[in-house]
């Protein structure tokens, strides 16, 4: 298992993770927690100033991928598919996401991710992601 600091160094090399301004809060064997600040470049609706739904899916996927980041021997985990449910509009505030491995086999990992803003009990989105590890 890589440390939060080493993982942060790794992801800071990835252009899209820098675009999201992804910051690792915590990582353990099964779980990774990240935050993403609100920014003008990720606004979806210019009238309501909500964070773009597609970017929320990206943030969930990015965090989910970090739970298995060191699993493939070469490269990074390959996303296979995703399902995201949107539960509340995301306002111009930081988002936090916690991703947890549901099952990680030899070839496939299933990861759940949940994102919230002020209150973890009131998530803005939840998703399930599958990754190919070979």
């Amino acid at each position: 298992m890589v440390s939060s600091k080493n993982l942060q160094n790794e992801i800071d090399k990835i252009p899209f993770f820098r675009f999201l301004d992804l910051q690792i809060m915590e990582c353990s064997d099964q779980t990774t927690t990240c935050t993403m600040p609100a920014a003008e470049r990720i606004v979806g609706n210019p009238y309501f100033k909500n964070i773009h739904g597609g970017i929320i899916a990206s943030f969930l996927e990015a965090t989910a991928s970090l739970t298995v980041f060191d699993r493939p021997v070469e490269g990074t985990p390959k996303p296979i598919n995703l399902t995201v449910n949107y539960l509340l509009p995301a306002k111009m505030k930081p988002l936090t996401c916690r991703a947890t491995i549901v099952r990680s086999g030899r070839r496939i990992a299933v990861v759940e991710a949940v994102a919230w803003q002020d209150d973890e009990e009131k998530p803005v989105a939840k998703g399930q992601f599958q990754f190919l590890l070979v």
Partner: protein
């Protein structure tokens, strides 16, 4: 005077979608075709959307975000008299690595509209390679009906200030 409601026009909806602010400014996508049932859009290559240091592999999340925006446009064009629209869910399949510096093309259609829900499906490929889709997706939106879009109320209000 007629009692016909004056819905926002297709051109107004397209102009709204083409506003270059927020993430839509970053995507910088253009409308190739939009006929009211389906849309065909192009997004130029952008190296800040990549996941590799060689900068030719697009992160899946960008394909998802591009499809989400395309579904939103398809729904707004397919449903005149929409008051509000909110994404309920997104389901995406990544069919192959998005490894290219070509522009991305998305085709999206709102294939069923009910009183409360709009159902969408779409696919993404690199320009010039439409036989090899990189992603397919579905999304449903919760919609409410009304004569005008809620966001235009806000615009009027802002205009008065």
């Amino acid at each position: 005077m007629t009692d016909e409601p004056t819905y926002i026009s297709m051109d107004q909806i397209k102009a709204l979608w083409l506003i270059r602010s927020g993430f839509h400014g970053e995507m910088n996508a253009e409308i190739i075709e939009a006929d009211g049932e389906s849309v065909l859009l192009r997004m130029p290559f952008n190296s800040s959307f990549c996941v590799d240091t060689e900068k030719d592999l697009i992160h899946g999340g960008i394909l998802t975000a591009f499809m989400d925006s395309a579904f939103g446009l398809a729904t707004m064009l397919a449903m005149p008299g929409l008051r509000t629209i909110a994404t309920l869910d997104l389901r995406i399949e990544y069919l192959r690595p998005a490894k290219s510096r070509a522009d991305l093309i998305v085709f999206a259609e709102c294939y069923r509209q009910t009183r409360h829900i709009a159902f969408n499906r779409g696919r993404v490929w690199f320009e010039g390679d439409d036989r090899n889709e990189v992603a397919m997706g579905f999304a449903s939106f919760a919609v409410t009906r009304g004569e005008n879009m809620l966001m235009f109320d806000r615009e009027d209000k802002n205009g008065e200030q």
